[in-house]
Homo-oligomer: 321 residues x 2
């Protein structure tokens, strides 16, 4: 099946379940960025992030699974857990012990069994997830290296193409971990709005995708933790996502944690949406790295809003827009 056919099929399975998230704007953000800034508010998606799209697409594509397992710092976990509950499929989620408490609690509240592992101590979630999957006969739903997950995230791209009708050419900045959302959107736009070009945005120190795109080959990060942007810290680009982005995406952008926090405050003040640090990376790039962007308009995908109240309060107190 072609990529766009798979995305359209996912769109059909998601219809009536996914939320069509709004595209928001503010004259203040436009003034700050020096161009029109469209913000695709995926934090308003079910479970608070775009990950619901891919989770639903993958679970709904299964036939006769005994159960599913996913590893995730939290957002993919919640997306898979909610989709599994709806489909009556047991779900096991492997999460790092240092994930935000809110994400762990929310995943359990969605009926999933949570298995914790030690990210800082060097355990790899892939190993833990594959071991549990093998022992219990569960179907592993990888967070990005999965055709159906990428197709589900691609439905966000279909919406973007419809919502910014009239914008002929623009960069679409996407917060990027393993590259599933960036890839899905890139595939959808290549078919539906070829003037729109995906550009992945990553935190400083975790810019494996940007460096891989520049090098023309997958290269990894040195650190495994140490950024506030927990949702988008991955070791190396996905095996499936990298070739897609290598062919379709523009150069990656890199933002600091401080820029993400300032973008969170601006999203609070001007758009009235809640963003987590990693979910604000693309908006931060749109606002603070405009010199690396061309055109009169830019689209930033605000990918998630699952942030602990204490951290959000600290960001509001410490960072001025």
């Amino acid at each position: 099946m072609s990529s766009i056919a798979r995305i359209r099929a996912a769109e059909v399975r998601l219809a009536g379940h996914v939320r069509r998230t709004p595209m928001l704007r503010s004259p203040d953000l436009d003034a700050l960025a020096g161009r029109t800034v469209w913000v695709k508010a995926e934090c308003l998606q079910h479970t608070g992030s775009f990950k619901f799209r891919g989770g639903w697409a993958a679970v709904s594509a299964l036939k006769d699974a005994l159960g599913v397992i996913a590893y995730s710092s939290g957002n993919h976990a919640q997306g898979v857990a909610l989709a599994a509950r709806h489909h009556g499929v047991p779900a096991v989620i492997v999460m790092p012990r240092d994930a935000p408490g809110l994400k762990i609690d929310n995943t359990r509240a969605l009926g999933a069994e949570v298995v914790l592992y030690d990210r800082a101590g060097g355990e790899r979630r892939e190993d833990v997830g594959e071991a549990v999957a093998a022992a219990r006969g569960l179907t592993l739903i990888k967070p990005y290296d999965n055709d159906e997950v990428i197709a589900g995230q691609g439905t966000c791209g279909l919406e973007i193409a419809e919502q910014v009708e009239g914008v002929e050419a623009a960069d679409v900045l996407v917060c990027c971990g393993g590259g599933g959302l960036s890839s899905g959107i890139a595939l959808a736009l290549a078919d539906q709005a070829p003037g729109l070009r995906v550009r992945p945005v990553e935190p400083a120190g975790f810019d494996d995708m940007a460096r891989s795109l520049a090098a023309g080959a997958r290269v990894g990060n040195n650190a495994a933790s140490g950024s506030l942007c927990d949702a988008i810290l991955t070791q190396i680009p996905g095996e499936m996502t990298f070739p897609i982005l290598s062919s379709l995406a523009g150069p990656g952008l890199v933002v600091t944690d401080e820029e993400c926090c300032r973008a969170m405050v601006l999203a609070f003040l001007r758009l009235k949406i809640v963003l987590e640090p990693g979910g604000a990376a693309a908006l931060a790039a749109a606002l603070f790295h405009g010199d690396q962007i061309d055109g009169d308009a830019v689209i930033a995908v605000a990918t998630g809003g699952n942030v602990d109240p204490a951290l959000f309060a600290r960001v509001l107190a410490d960072f001025q827009p």
Copy 2:
């Protein structure tokens, strides 16, 4: 012109300018309330509150005005200011000295001239507004006792009727100050979805509309300030809005400041939207006063999100859901 004809005319003038705000849900909020809770997220409207609708409707209906003047604790001010700027009409806004700094700053940033008055000291905004209007030949746009303002707010009711298609009968809880939004929505629903009934929600101590509806005549509040819900503190129901609600609305509901703060935290956690205290009153009633509500579903209009970061951070720290 009939009320619904005026609302439809406002809808035409607002088309392409107003944001069709989403109707959000969360399984956690449903569980807490014991019924389906639909949240109409008007905090995502331009200027951060529904007031943009009425402001735009009123300014766009003017012919040859020298300028406009409005009195407002902030949200109406911003709505009128943005509409006036777009239409090239000068705007003067009369605001209480104790309004949130964010609202005063935002109003100035929209190009309006701000005149401050002393609410706690007993000055009445109506007197200040009418004096300035007379002296300078400005057209006064009252915040709720104005046909076009009510019609503009009514466009929110048209959207609600479309967005909860399939809900035959339910209460529509609306945060209520002077009653402009409640009236507009009530008029729209009476025509479009007669099974949906507006019920105004007010802060304890400022429940003039609830008591007036119960008494069958307009009665006022004793206090003029002293609630966190600054956006919906009014002295007495509007002369135009009270008869509308007296004929169309169900009994009023009353919530405490603490309940509004808890609703703000839940909206943050579960919906990823930013609400100000007064904008969370209807959600608070849906969540914490379910014993006064009938039916399997309830609709809460989340009216605004213009809250100072310091207050929001304090609410996140002090109130557990």
